[in-house]
C-alpha cells in the first residue's frame, strides 16, 4: 500500500521543478496574453476591464492584417525554401568531408547562432546598405547600374534570416543523414542507377523526414522572429511580430497586440501540426 502511494507521488515530486518552470514562464504568461486579447480598448482610457470579441473582429475584417499575415508567411516560407536549397547540399558535402575539416566547417555553419543577434543583424545592415559591401562590389563589377534596395526590403530580411536559420536545417538533415546506411547508395548504383537517379530516388526520399522537421523549425522561428525583421525590415516592411510590438509600445493598444499575437500562435501551431501529421502518415512504415 505504502509502495503504491510512494510510486504515484514520486514522479510528480521529481518533475515539480520543471512543471513549476513551465507553468510560471510559459503557461501563465500565455494565458494572461490570451485574456488580454479579449479586453476592451479605449483610445482615451486605455485597457478596460470589460471583455469583447472586438479585437479579433477588427483583425479579421481588415485587409491590412491579411496582408500582414500573408507577408509573414511568404517571408517564413521563402526562408524555409532557401534553407532547404542551401542546407541539404551543404549537409551532404559536410558529411563527406574528412574529420578535421568537418569540425571546422561545422563551427562555421553554427557560427550565426554563436553571435549575438544585435551584432549579427547590425553587421548585415552594414553589408546590405546602399553604400554597403554587396552593392559596392556588384556596382564595381558592372553587374548592376543602380544600387539594389536590400535594406528595408523583403530580399534583405530573407537573406539575413536564412543566414541564422540555416544551422537548424543543417542539424536536422545531418541527424537523418547519419542514420542512412552508406551501402544503400552503393546498392542503388550496382542495380543500375546513375549517381543522380540514386540521389533522387534513394537518398533524397530518406532525407525527407529530416528536411521536413528542419523546415518546421525554420518556418516557426522565422515567422516569430522579431529582431531581424525589426532591424533589417524596419518600418517599411512590417511583419506580424513587428506590428505586435508597435501595437504594444507605440499605439499602446495592448489588447489588439495580444489578439494579433494569439492569432500568430494559432497559425504557427496549425502549420506545425499539419506538417507533423503529414510526416507521420507518409513515413510511418519507413522509420519504425
Amino acid at each position: 500500500m505504502r509502495d503504491t502511494s510512494k510510486s504515484t507521488r514520486q514522479p510528480w515530486l521529481l518533475s515539480s521543478p520543471s512543471v513549476a518552470l513551465f507553468l510560471g514562464l510559459l503557461v501563465v504568461p500565455l494565458a494572461l496574453t490570451a485574456i488580454l486579447s479579449f479586453n476592451v480598448f479605449d483610445a482615451m482610457m486605455g485597457t478596460q476591464d470589460s471583455y469583447t470579441f472586438g479585437n479579433y473582429l477588427e483583425i479579421l475584417t481588415d485587409s491590412y492584417y491579411y496582408e500582414l499575415f500573408l507577408r509573414t508567411a511568404l517571408m517564413a516560407g521563402g526562408v524555409t525554401v532557401l534553407c532547404i536549397l542551401l542546407g541539404v547540399p551543404e549537409t551532404i558535402i559536410l558529411s563527406r568531408m574528412g574529420p578535421r575539416y568537418q569540425g571546422i566547417f561545422f563551427v562555421m555553419i553554427l557560427g550565426p547562432l554563436l553571435i549575438s543577434v544585435v551584432v549579427r543583424t547590425l553587421g548585415w545592415s552594414i553589408m546590405l546598405g546602399r553604400e554597403g559591401l554587396i552593392n559596392q562590389s556588384l556596382t564595381s563589377l558592372g553587374l548592376i547600374g543602380e544600387p539594389l534596395q536590400l535594406m528595408y526590403s523583403m530580399t534583405g530580411v530573407v537573406i539575413v534570416l536564412t543566414h541564422v536559420m540555416l544551422p537548424f536545417m543543417v542539424i536536422a538533415v545531418w541527424t537523418t543523414l547519419q542514420k542512412l546506411d552508406a551501402q544503400v547508395a552503393d546498392a542503388a548504383r550496382s542495380l543500375g542507377a546513375g549517381s543522380w537517379t540514386t540521389f533522387r530516388r534513394v537518398i533524397l526520399p530518406q532525407l525527407l523526414p529530416g528536411i521536413l522537421s528542419g523546415s518546421i523549425i525554420v518556418f516557426t522561428l522565422s515567422a516569430s522572429a522579431f529582431a531581424t525583421p525589426a532591424l533589417i525590415g524596419g518600418r517599411r516592411l512590417k511583419v506580424v511580430t513587428t506590428s505586435i510590438y508597435d501595437e504594444f509600445l507605440h499605439s499602446m493598444n495592448w489588447p489588439l497586440g495580444a489578439a494579433i499575437a494569439v492569432l500568430l500562435l494559432i497559425a504557427i501551431v496549425a502549420v506545425v501540426m499539419g506538417s507533423n501529421r503529414y510526416i507521420e502518415r507518409k513515413f510511418k512504415q519507413v522509420f519504425t
Binding site: Q183, S190, G192, G194
Partner: protein, 356 residues
Amino acid sequence: MSTLTIRNLAKTYPPNVRAVKSIDLDIKSGEFVSLLGSSGCGKTTTLQMVAGFVAPSAGQVLLDGKDITYLDPDKRDMGVVFQSYALFPHMTVAQNVRFGLEMRRLPEAQIRERVADALSMVRLDGLDRRYPAELSGGQRQRVAIARVLAIRPRVLLLDEPMSNLDAKLRGEMHVELRGLQKRLGITTILVTHDQVEAMTMSDRIAVMANGTIAELGTPQEVYDIPSTEFAFNFLGQSNTVTAKVLSHDEASTQLRVGSSTIRTPRRNGGLSDDVRLFIRPERLTLSSPEAGMITGRVATRLFLGNTWTYEIDCDFGRLRVIKVNTRGGQPQEGELVGISWNEADMQSASGELADA
C-alpha cells in the same frame, strides 16, 4: 554465364595503407568462389573493387574478357548482396525488387513477371507490399537476394550476407542460396570470415591474409593439404609440434619429439634441423598406451554431444584430440593413453615461420 578474371589487383589508401597487395583470381562461368579471411585481410576491398565501388590502385578486372576495371558500378551488371542488406527503407518489398528492372527500362509486364519470379524464388510471395522495417532479418535478406536475382546479373557478389542471421537460419540459407546459385548457374563471389560458410557453399576457397591470397583450392584441398602453415592454422583446428630430424631413409624421415621417435614421409632438411609438424585433432586416434605411437595423459575432456574433445599432455606439450562420440568406454581425465595417426595426415614445415 560469365567468367571473371582478376589480375594483379591492388589498392593502396593514402598515406600508405596497402589494403590489397596483389590478387590474381580466375573464376569460371557458374563457379562459386569464396574469399575467406579475418577482418582487415582485404577481402571486402577486393569485392568492392570488383563491384566498382572502389577504384583499384593497380591491376585489372575482366568480365568475359572485357576490361571493366574503371567502369561505373551501374554499368557492370553485377548483383551485390550487402552485409546490412542495404534495402531501400522507403520502398516496399516489390518496389525494392523492381528498382533494378526500372533502371533497365524493361516493359511493365516483364517487370511484374520478373518481380514475381524473384520473390517466389526466395519464397517471399505475398509479402510484396510490406516495408523492410516490417520484415524479420531473414526475410530482409531474402528481399536483398531477390532484388539482385531479378536483374539476372552476370556476376553475384555476396558481402558477408549471413553474418546478421542466427546460426540455425544461417545454416538453412547456406543450403538454399547454394541451391539457387547452382540452378541459375550464376558466377558468384562470396566474402566471408565464416569457415563453415565458405566450406559448405564454395566450389573453391581463396584464403586471404595481408592483402593477398594465401591459399586457393577446393574446400577439401585447402583443409586437407594446404600448402602454407597459415592456411593450416587458419582453417579448422590444428596441433603444431616442433621436432628434430634424426635420420632419413628412402621413404621416410625419423624425427624426435620429446622422448619419442616418430616417422613422416621423406622430407628434405639436414640432420638435427628443427621441423614443425601439423596434424588436425580429428586425425589423431586414442588407444591403450602400449598401442600408441606416443603416449600422454588426459588433462581435460569436453563433451560436445556428437564429439569429445580431449586435451592430452605429452612430454613435448599438449595435443588436442577430437573423437566421435560412440557409446562405450571413453578415457578418463588423468588416464594414460596412446596416440596414433596416419602418417599421410601429418604435414610439416621447416624451422622458420612460413610467412603467409
